[in-house]
């Protein structure tokens, strides 16, 4: 018996429950986001050892975020602060990890905001609960508005402009910018920054989780347009693929990249990679722990409401020998 009545009854009861429970909807924007200075957060009640939760969007096993994690953990050891590192690439899950840390009443919170709007409510709840928040890596524009005490990162636009300038100075005329993470605003800003200072830039989408495919696509792009003489990769894994692709396509294109790893260090030494834009992400892990400790013990803030810049630093043939050993141990 297909009885609509029964279904309607269940739905009606449930709907009544929705109406009866004291609901509070989300608040809309009145387009006047107050970019406040330092938030007036209640002083956190200090009981037991100082604990900080680091919640990032860097997927597990990502070389870049491993360095951030190392930085945070080293700072924890040096300063006697308990550091827990969590990561989830999905903004909804990341918001829940923040809620989870708030529920645990951590002493401080470090958050990377690849998707600021999705994390807004969770971060503001943390601030309301009296937990000092430092944002890192991305989302600098929203940091102060959400009530964070500081932001530590590299302005992606600036870094892109720096890379574009260097490539232009090297006499390049046509650039291919390789985006490997759909959904990451920072990568688009890097390519746009490079466009501003370089000129002719085309972008290419590849899938970071499928290196074979990434290499094939870069090779295809180089083969189909022989006038491309520079490739800008946005992370070290893609850079290695781009170097191989250029070799296979016997293209004259030279590769520049963001971020360091052992492969990139070797390639810079060998001359197959022109330079790496280093945002020194170890500092993005280390410094927030210092800031939170200073805030807790001395009420200090830093940056004056402006982001603390960790980059762009440039690594090329001139300084590679200094940097190489640090990259090997996972801190550069």
């Amino acid at each position: 018996m297909f009885s609509i009545k029964k279904l309607a009854g269940v739905a009606a009861i449930a709907a009544a429950g929705l109406v009866l429970s004291a609901c509070s909807g989300p608040s809309a924007d009145n387009s006047s986001s107050s970019a406040g200075g330092s938030p007036t957060a209640a002083a956190p009640s200090s009981s037991g050892p100082f604990k900080v939760a680091v919640v990032t969007h860097g997927t597990a096993g990502d070389a870049f975020w491993n360095v951030v994690k190392n930085g945070a953990e080293q700072a924890g050891k040096d300063l006697n602060v308990g550091v827990d590192y969590f990561a989830d690439g999905d903004p909804g899950n990341q918001a829940r990890l923040i809620d989870n840390a708030v529920a645990q009443k951590v002493g401080g919170l470090v958050v990377s905001m690849a998707n600021p709007q999705a994390l807004q409510t969770s971060i503001q709840n943390a601030v309301k609960a009296g937990i000092p928040v430092v944002t890192i890596n991305s989302g600098e524009d929203s940091s102060a508005a959400f009530g964070a005490i500081a932001h530590v990162g590299q302005s992606e636009g600036l870094a892109g402009q720096g890379a574009g300038q260097r490539l232009k100075a090297a006499g390049k005329t046509k650039l291919l910018c390789v985006i490997h993470e759909a959904g990451n605003i920072g990568q688009n800003q890097r390519c746009d920054g490079a466009k501003q200072t370089f000129g002719t830039v085309s972008t290419l989408q590849v899938d970071i989780s499928n290196p074979t495919d990434a290499q094939a696509r870069i090779r295809g792009a180089l083969q189909s347009d022989p006038s491309i003489d520079a490739v800008l990769a946005l992370n070290s894994q893609v850079a290695a693929r781009a170097v191989d692709a250029a070799k296979e396509a016997s293209s004259k294109a030279q590769v520049a990249t963001f971020d360091l790893n052992a492969d990139v260090v070797a390639a810079i030494k060998a001359g197959t990679i022109l330079f790496a834009v280093d945002q020194q992400q170890y500092e993005q892990g280390y410094l927030p722990i210092v800031f939170l400790k200073l805030y807790k013990e001395n009420g200090n803030t830093i940056g004056g409401g402006k982001p603390v810049q960790t980059g762009p630093g440039f690594v090329d043939k001139t300084n590679i020998d200094t940097v190489a050993p640090y990259a090997e141990r996972g801190t550069r």
């Binding site: 909807g25 989300p26 827990d84 529920a103 709007q117 999705a118 807004q120 759909a182 959904g183």
Partner: protein, 347 residues
């Protein structure tokens, strides 16, 4: 004669013991698993049972649970929908692009994305029934197609890979009030998605266990040929089931876009397997014809409790997936043991 009948009652109408009646429910394994996980994390961690902690893991379970339930109905009907995960992002994107880029009222945008979802669901179902290809293959195709559409359209329209700015669209507050509000119990804020999850589970459970359509779902999942020969409208039933998963994805997509006010083009990928896993923990068989909506909801609850519990326990997050995998395997093994027992009882 009558005395003889009373002396030997027919075993088919005989009273079964309570344990025997319980053990044949598909949910029972999941329920025990949920109790185990709940007790374990309540004992091991300090914050798991705090009001805020409960709000966190219920929140995590809710959107997964909505999808697990609709996917469970489809699986009982003997089909898969691999496009369900990415569909949650597609519906968010349609709503967000119409509201923020075209300046529509949010309610109108929600209506259009609902029609879009139902259209894709109906197309999936129609293609599966028309071609006779396994739904695994057909929906894998639509999954990849939607993934490409999500990225392509988003970049075309916005020149970037996120659509944000929902908070300043017209009708955001009223729509948000329905889909993404919070309600307060004893001073702790709970997400309204938890209420949606309970509503969807209740409706699906009644539909499956108490209506003729529910019988049709079991029939087409058990044996399509037999179902057709006894007059069950097989094609209509299956197409409606695919539209059901699309409807669920629209609900989750709407909850997400109104709560997080932004959506990434690469969201939702990989979630389709979590829905299937939650449904399987809840007692659904991959072969169809057996399963339960309530079980799937409990499966999602186990998933959410484990995910957040591992974080509360402050175990090293490097091992996170390993813990999750072992936990899921254990849950499925327990289920399997119960199902064997249940089949013995039936005979």
């Amino acid at each position: 004669m009558t005395a003889a009948i009373q002396a030997h009652p027919d075993e088919r109408v005989g009273k079964k013991s309570l344990t025997d009646r319980l053990v044949v429910r598909p949910e029972i394994g999941a329920l025990l698993g949920a109790v185990l996980v709940f007790v374990f994390f309540s004992v091991v961690t300090g914050q798991f049972l705090s009001p805020l902690g409960v709000a966190t893991w219920l929140d995590d379970s809710s959107t997964l649970g909505i999808m697990a339930v609709v996917v469970a109905l489809l699986m009982v009907g003997g089909e898969f929908d691999l496009s369900a995960g990415v569909m949650t992002a597609s519906t968010s994107l349609v709503t967000a692009i119409l509201a923020t880029q075209a300046g529509w009222n949010v309610w109108l945008a929600l209506l259009v994305s609902l029609l879009f979802a139902l259209g894709v669901g109906a197309f999936n179902g129609w293609l599966v029934m028309k071609t006779g290809l396994p739904s695994f293959i057909v929906t894998l195709g639509s999954f990849l197609a939607l993934q490409g559409l999500n990225l392509g359209v988003t970049r075309l329209v916005t020149n970037t890979v996120q659509v944000s700015g929902m908070r300043s669209t017209s009708g955001y507050e009223s729509a948000g009030g329905l889909f993404a509000s919070t309600f307060s119990i004893g001073g702790t804020e709970f997400q309204s998605s938890i209420v949606w999850w309970i509503v969807v589970t209740a409706v699906a459970a009644v539909l499956l266990m108490r209506t003729r359509f529910g019988n049709w779902i079991f029939a087409v999942g058990g044996s399509q040929v037999s179902a057709r020969s006894v007059g069950v409208p097989v094609v209509r039933t299956k197409i409606l089931l695919f539209m059901g998963t699309a409807l669920g994805a629209w609900l989750v997509g709407s909850i997400n876009i109104l709560r997080f006010a932004s959506v990434q083009a690469n969201q939702g990928i990989g979630l389709e397997f979590q829905y299937i896993i939650a449904a399987v923990i809840g007692g659904c068989l991959l072969t169809g014809g057996y399963g339960s909506a309530v079980g799937a909801a409990i499966g999602a609850l186990i998933f959410g409790m484990a995910r957040q519990g591992i974080v509360f326990a402050q175990w090293n997050s490097d091992w996170f997936m390993l813990f999750l995998g072992i936990m899921l395997l254990a849950a499925v093994l327990v289920n399997n043991a119960f199902r064997r027992r249940a089949e013995r009882v039936r005979r």
